[in-house]
Amino acid sequence: MTKQTADHRHLLGAPIRDRILDEVRTYVDAAGQMGKIVSIAIDGTAEVEVYIRNQARIAAKVGLDFDQQIWPRDITQNVCKTRIQQMNDDPSVLGIIIQRPLPSHINIRSLQSAVHPLKDIEGMNPASIGNIVYSDIALVPCTAAASVEMIKATGLTLAGLEVVMIGHSEIVGRPAAMMLMAEGATVTICHHMTRSVAMHSRRADVVLVAVGSPHFIGPDMIKPGAAVIDIGINQITTDDGTSRIVGDVDTAAVTEVAGWITPVPGGVGPVTVAVLMRNAVIAHQRQRQSGWRT
């Protein structure tokens, strides 16, 4: 990991993460026993281990129980589904995370639909997404919500803001667009079939990018003073043979044009895990409102 040099134009995730985690910690302390977060991974998908470890560490920090389950590689779809349904009925389970990727014989969407909407702390159940479309912003996909938090941290007023979202994935681009629209922004969604991304991005007050392509956004694509939210996480090999993590934005060059830019790493990423924990709190509140908990 390269050292992040301090730059006032850099919009850092750490302070936003810490603020959210403080709020979560306060709630957890007052709530007492809340039940546990269950993380489901399937054996052999080792690349997610670092990621899960980080979630477990943050959960411990805010006082939430985190049950890290690893299911066998040859588990069937039906068994997965049955186990998830049992967790839906189990009051000791607060929320469920299905770690990606999964083996190819498992249909992830079907499992996400099996998670009860009140335990869907990843915001991946179609009903959770439907609620976002209908502007009921409760359990939201974490990366999308983290991106919105970053924009809010600039102090810009979202109503009437021209926002260009580059990337239309169901996990990030689409829900982020819907959330920003609910806040009154005029949102344009670009993707791989867009004829000229620059034509759209150059007029935007805020550009979010989640395409998974290093240096996709250069300084010529950004209006001077705009906020640039870099959601990409790409591993690249540098000339000296070492590998490092970069986003979708040519950060050094774009920093000279942008009003705000989120660095990678250290921008959206840290906030994502904090939003996951906040979702656990929201799930707890909603489960109480629904009479599941006292």
């Binding site: 969407r109 159940n125 179609p126 009903a127 959770s128 997404i129 439907g130 609620n131 976002i132 479309v133 209908y134 109503a159 009437g160 803001l161 021209e162 239309h168 169901e170 689409r174 829900p175 667009a177 819907m178 629209m181 009154g184 922004a185 005029t186 949102v187 344009t188 969604i189 670009c190 993707h191 079939m193 867009t194 004829r195 759209h200």
Partner: protein, 297 residues
């Protein structure tokens, strides 16, 4: 006037023919008659007209129509019980609860009680989420009608700049999702949009769904663009007479646009045609006949 007029009335008739052909195939090949249940609570005159029209067209294409008319003071429990029984009824493939409901009934609760696979209006939260993530779902009728007309006129919509004006749950939001699924670059403009004329002028496709008479003038339209007018507004003209107009100023927009839907006779007739199509789609899916559900193309 230069724009080609997109004739919704004629296009809706073609859709109904395809629906009728599919219904007849389902009957002869599988012994299944698709059925649509419409629930009307109260005596709102406009709703009564819609429900009558839906019932008539349902029967015309060879499907079964089940009408349930309930008193305005019907309790929520009675309504929910009816929906439960329709959900369980194998002769019913589509359920439509006519909106708006009387004030004492919770619309969200009622709509979400409908089994998602029978939700032919596409308003159930699960269908909204499936559409929002590009998955197979039931699609709201009015935006589906707009999409079919756009596909028919353009062929592929891929790469086109589309601007949807209005962010309603019924039209604007699902329209944007459908255009995204067809690979348009989509902008959703609305009352808070700072420079609406500028946003609209970029569009190859404009869908206006705001419910404000003639608010989009011709000089907002890029020459050659396609204009879909979802608005139906009744305005006063001289001598106490009224007429129906859309959300776009028809004369001035038609002078600039490449193609335009008139009001009336554009989007309007497509809505019920798509409701019938959705009922057949639901019937195919419920009976695991999904190979045949693509009958509209």
């Amino acid at each position: 006037m230069s724009a080609q007029i997109i004739d919704g009335k004629a296009f809706a008739a073609t859709v109904r023919q395809k629906v009728a052909a599919k219904v007849s195939e389902l009957k002869t090949a599988h012994g299944i008659t698709p059925g649509l249940a419409v629930v009307l609570v109260g005596t709102d005159p406009a709703s009564q007209v819609y429900v009558r029209s839906k019932g008539k067209q349902t029967v015309q294409v060879g499907m079964n129509s089940f009408e349930h008319k309930l008193d305005a003071d019907t309790s929520e429990d009675v309504l929910l019980d009816l929906i439960d029984s329709l959900n369980a009824d194998p002769a019913v493939h589509g359920i439509l609860v006519q909106l708006p409901l009387p004030g004492h009934l919770d619309e969200t609760l009622v709509i979400n009680r409908i089994a998602p696979e029978k939700d032919v209006d596409g308003f159930h939260i699960a269908n909204v989420g499936l559409l929002g993530t590009g998955q197979k779902s039931m699609v709201p009728c009015t935006p589906l009608g707009c999409l079919l007309m756009l596909r028919d006129y353009h062929g592929s919509l891929s790469g086109k700049n589309a601007v949807v004006i209005g962010r309603s749950n019924i039209v604007g939001k699902p329209m944007a999702q459908l255009l995204l699924n067809d690979s348009c670059t989509v902008t959703i403009a609305h009352s808070r949009t700072a420079d609406l004329p500028d946003v609209v002028r970029r569009a190859d496709i404009v869908v206006a769904a705001v419910g404000r008479p003639e608010m989009v003038p011709g000089d907002w339209i890029k020459p050659g663009a396609t204009v879909i007018d979802v608005g139906i507004n009744r305005i006063d003209i001289e001598d106490g007479k009224t007429k129906l107009v859309g959300d776009v100023a028809y004369e001035s927009c038609a002078a600039v646009a490449g193609a335009i839907t008139p009001v009336p006779g554009g989007v309007g007739p497509m809505t019920i045609a798509c409701l019938l199509a959705n009922t057949v789609t639901a019937c195919c899916r419920i009976n695991n006949l999904t190979d045949g559900e693509d009958f509209l193309s």
